[in-house]
Symmetry: C2
Subunit: 294 residues, 2 copies
């Protein structure tokens, strides 16, 4: 069994990105600039955004943080989105989700200029990914594909079972794994809450991507010997063993599943660290106008 070390891969990519930014700057090019809009004071969102800003600094990107209180109107938020669309110095930007209930997340997402949509949530980017065209792929699926690539995991003709059909992980993951590409070219099965024989299906899988948000859902009896297991779950489970009072828990019962696998990602330190770094890669692509140049 080999542990997929997302933390190490992310650190390596960070160095690669920093190197490329250095070269761009040395050649007189523009410093890539990521902006983030943060509404309110949700603990998770604060942490994520702070981490994104910090990673920008480490890589050499310019970053901007725009804050609103929870009481901000949808109109005011949309106005800010449009301002960032029109700001030629900003290469890409994100609106940290979730948003307060009085604001339509979908409306906000669709107002973002798809050429600056480094989160890859705009329907144009989702559609282009499905068709197999260049696009911003959302960060978590992109990070998983990058892990498969760096660990040279053979995916062609393999049976990949995706657990979960969320718009931000399950569906795009299925879409990427079935494309004629490498990684990709897998036979793909998508399971979800309505699936009846999930254990039978998992037992057939060469690759399992677990993104249900259901702590320790995948147990050893559901996994074929030699399978590759990617754990996307990050549920905060109460714990008296940590200072924070909770423990980040994946969708995989790691201790019993790991010995059966050829490769497995831990939680934390697997998929998680790849998410922010994938956003950074998208920002660099946006800065270079490498995806959408129309």
């Amino acid at each position: 069994m080999e542990l997929i070390d997302g933390k190490a891969v992310a650190a390596q990519i960070k160095l690669e990105l920093a190197e490329e930014v250095k070269k761009i700057k040395a050649a007189g090019g523009k410093t890539p600039h990521l902006a983030a809009i943060l509404v309110g004071h949700d603990g998770g969102s604060e942490t994520y955004v702070a981490s994104k800003v910090k990673t920008c600094e480490e890589i050499g990107f310019k970053s901007s943080l725009i804050r609103f209180e929870d009481s901000v109107t949808e109109a005011a938020l949309l106005q800010q989105v449009i301002a960032l669309n029109n700001d030629t110095d900003v290469d890409g930007f994100i609106v940290q989700l979730p948003l307060p209930k009085h604001i339509s997340e979908q409306k906000v997402i669709e107002t973002i200029d798809y050429r600056k949509d480094v989160d890859g949530f705009h329907p144009i980017n989702v559609g282009r990914m499905s068709i197999g065209l260049p696009c911003f792929v959302s960060a978590t699926p992109a990070g998983i594909v990058e892990l498969l690539r760096r660990y040279q995991i053979d995916t062609q003709g393999k049976h990949c079972v995706v657990l979960g059909r969320s718009n931000i992980v399950g569906k795009p993951m299925a879409s990427l794994m079935m494309q004629k590409s490498n990684p990709g070219d897998s036979t793909v099965t998508v399971c979800h809450s309505r699936t009846k024989n999930i254990k039978d299906l998992c037992l057939q899988a060469d690759i399992i991507i677990a993104a249900l948000g259901s702590p320790e859902f995948l147990t050893a009896d559901m996994v074929k010997p030699g399978a590759v297991v990617i754990d996307v779950g990050t549920t905060r489970v109460p714990s008296d063993k940590t200072k924070s009072g909770f423990k980040l828990t994946g969708d995989v019962k790691f201790e019993e599943v790991a010995p059966k696998c050829s490769f497995i990602t831990p939680v934390p330190g697997g998929v998680g660290p790849m998410t922010i770094i994938s956003l950074m890669k998208n920002t660099l692509l946006a800065g270079k106008k490498a995806i959408h140049f129309a």
Copy 2:
């Protein structure tokens, strides 16, 4: 075994659409207007477009046919697309594919205003379908979903195996069948040329949607008793028994598969007739501004 009579369903929907158009006109509303651009003189394309124009007339839609020779430049074609985008009388339009090799189909598709993209090929419509938002669903997948609905075939929690991963059938079909909707809510497996154990997977399927374009690929030994089989194949196979010299052949070996099925579509007369009628439904939706009203 029950035969899914696509011809009869299409005829029924045609009456329903004609009835609705009559009401719209009686209330002083605008007559829905579908335009089609046809480049060159490909036999298949001529037939399809002629059939679309005829169906428009039967339903009471206005239709326009714009023809170009094979030698038309991409720029001239794009100019025509933009003219239709700006023509307020045209509710929806299609550019009949395939196009000559010197023209980028993708560029043409992406130039179409997505609000008039009744073929549902624009990335925005593809992306919105994946996310589960209102959109124009492309005609063949929409027609198949409509058949499942009209025959009240239970899809929730069923295992649906899609054979083929084309952008116009396989991928959208998978996307629709996994949505939280009815029809939909299925466990979905997508098989394709790289799939190794396609027979094993088909044998597990409650619903098989065959869209490989491989004549008589699906044989009786690959089908579980009681399965629902939808045949999307329409390959022209040479035949000395028909006047035309060819026979339209599906992906399913009908004679031997049919007796094992609970429901099956024939070729011709199954999915085929639903395709044009789905385009007509999209045109009516476009005329009513029912999907994209932004």
